[in-house]
Amino acid sequence: MSTIVLLLITGLGLGALYFLVASGLSLIYGLMGVLNFAHGSFLTIGAFIGWEVARRLSDGSWWALVAAMLTGAVVGALVAAATEFFLIRRLYNRHIEQVLVTVGLALASVALFEGIWGTDPTYVTSPSWLGQTTEILGARIPNNRFMLILVAVLVLVAIVLFLKFTRYGLIVRAGVENRLMVTALGIDVRRAFTLVFAIGGAAAGLGGVLASIYYGYVSAHIGGSLLIFAFIVTVIGGLGSLAGAAIASVLVAVLQQFANFYLGGTGDLAVVLALAAVLLLRPRGLMGAKA
């Protein structure tokens, strides 16, 4: 029983990370049809700069952690908005080229991070409470899992509120539904593009700081490895669907944890098999709008 609880909550924590990456990917794809390979780099740069700030403030205090998270989110948002503005926008409606540009950006930025911060992982110091465990139903759960889940839920609520109750949220939702019609009504969709990139980048940057708590270190490849699972999550959840991304991140992460424990560390393979199964039975994903 305690093992199942532990796996479940750890899975939820990992799912929270996947969601922070996948939510941005899914929104960006839904609105603009861009598969963003550079999303992992937004995450990595958020994590690196967030921790640089935290280290300068003080090691291991809550204030430093909050500062790191805010910095990570802001840096992620700025880098993402700049990417959209300088690179993606020039290739408007040419989806393959847009993917290629983000691929180039991902390759170049990872190399640059390695040049600046080195190839070895940089270990981070977080508040000591996060390193301890809490006992629930006999399972000793690392405290940082609770924080991951809490932050991801807050981000989910914030994005949903934004989409439902603001004017730009309305434009984004309408744009996902029918971009041509929104443009025809005289609304400048391009501003919404930059905004969606900034939101996705902020979630990814925040996710970067949290991922480094989860793993205990930051490295230049932290974003790339999460990105692949985020891709799987977005396909399983249905491209462009935020709710699908949320559900699929939890399912994928929990499945991964259970397979890792009970099936001899085959979590990554189980996830790929799940992806294949979803594609065979339901090619548009769990909550996808159309094939």
Partner: protein, 369 residues
């Protein structure tokens, strides 16, 4: 480059002359400072050239998917790795007593290529159920799974993170050792020419025409009454088999293989190569592979040089990362040079006629199909 627009006979003669030059290269003493590490007959240069040619063969097989069929696959490294690891594993475990040594070697290569074909058919049959961006992500997921399997070292066969070393007991002596780099060079050239001819044949075949038509307008192909799924699957499987062939030769050339070739990053490199050279053109893929491999090698040499070490940090850090320079170059090519390097030569020939971009793209696709 004017030969490429010329009459078919001249084209064939020019290609034959180029291949002949490549065949004779190990016997000549040509030094090009800054491009090759040494004279063309030295093992170091031959090794680099052979490596570049195998990457070119791989890029050609990727061209079948991306350039011809318009399928943006992020999992092509899987089949290259299947070829390299596959041959290594087959050579170690497959030694029937009734076959002479040489025949065992040839049979092993054939088995490896068959493995590549079957694996691609399996992966393709699932991932081709979706198209476009979903297809890209699904192939990426399969490649990731392959990468995980290779690193996990199932049954002690792949060697995990350390990679696999070639078991030379069934490999002909002429293909083993630094002194025989020349033979490996010729083998790589033969692989490249074979892959080129197969790709050419596929492009000119009915299946090639169908996938090219599907790339342009899938609905129309369906209306005519052709189901694109099986033709796409066929092309995907052929590309997988060709990649496995290149991978098998890669194992022989490097006398080993590391898990790096199974990573999705390796596929991204391939994508960079094909786009750099010019999407949709066979010799664009070859050119891209040669330019990329030589640049990568020279930039790595440059990164370690004293000139770079003496620069201030803000210049030194970016310049000491070859992948940063290549990635940036790639972005610039995508933004400003839609036809790649191959498109550059085409544009230079007719500089006096400025045209709208849309029209130019249309012409590009006409010329490549």
């Amino acid at each position: 480059m004017s030969a490429f627009r010329a009459r078919p006979m001249t084209k064939i003669t020019a290609s034959a002359a180029l291949v002949l030059l490549m065949v004779l290269l190990p016997l000549l003493n040509i030094t090009i400072p800054g491009v090759f590490p040494g004279a063309t007959y030295t093992p170091g240069t031959l090794q680099l050239l052979a490596y570049a040619m195998l990457i070119a063969a791989l890029a050609l097989s990727y061209h079948l998917l991306f350039g011809l069929a318009g399928m943006l696959s992020f999992g092509h490294a899987l089949f290259f790795a299947a070829g390299a690891y596959g041959l290594g594993i087959v050579l170690r475990n497959f030694s029937p007593s009734w076959l002479p040594a040489g025949a065992t070697f040839v049979a092993s290569i054939l088995i490896t290529v068959l493995i590549g074909f079957v694996l691609a058919a399996l992966v393709g049959s699932v991932s081709l159920r979706v198209t476009g961006i979903s297809f890209a992500m699904v192939t990426l997921a399969f490649a990731q799974a392959g990468s995980v399997v290779v690193r996990r070292n199932p049954g002690g066969q792949t060697g995990g993170d350390e990679g696999l070393t070639l078991d030379v007991s069934h490999v002909p002596d002429a293909l083993v050792g630094v002194l025989n780099t020349r033979n490996l060079y010729w083998l790589s050239l033969a692989v490249l020419v074979t892959v080129y001819l197969v790709v050419l044949w596929v492009e000119k075949s009915r299946a090639g025409h169908v996938v090219a038509a599907t790339r342009e307008n899938e609905l129309r192909v369906r209306v005519i009454g052709i189901r694109p799924y099986f033709v796409r699957l066929l092309i995907f499987s052929i590309a997988g088999a060709l990649a496995a062939l290149a991978g098998a030769a890669f194992l022989l050339l490097q006398s080993g293989v590391s898990p790096r070739v199974a990573t999705p990053d390796f596929t991204l490199t391939l994508l960079v190569i094909v786009v750099l050279g010019g999407v949709g053109l066979r010799w664009g893929a070859v050119l891209g592979a040669l330019v990329y491999t030589l640049l990568d090698q020279r930039l790595t040499a440059l990164a370690g040089s004293e000139f770079i070490a003496g620069l201030p940090d803000i210049l030194r850090i970016p310049l000491s990362q070859p992948l940063f320079i290549l990635g940036t170059l790639f972005i610039l090519v995508v933004l400003f040079l839609p036809g790649g390097l191959a498109g550059l030569t085409r544009r230079n020939r007719r500089p006096q006629r400025p045209r709208a971009r849309g029209r130019e793209r249309m012409l590009d696709s006409e010329e490549t199909t």
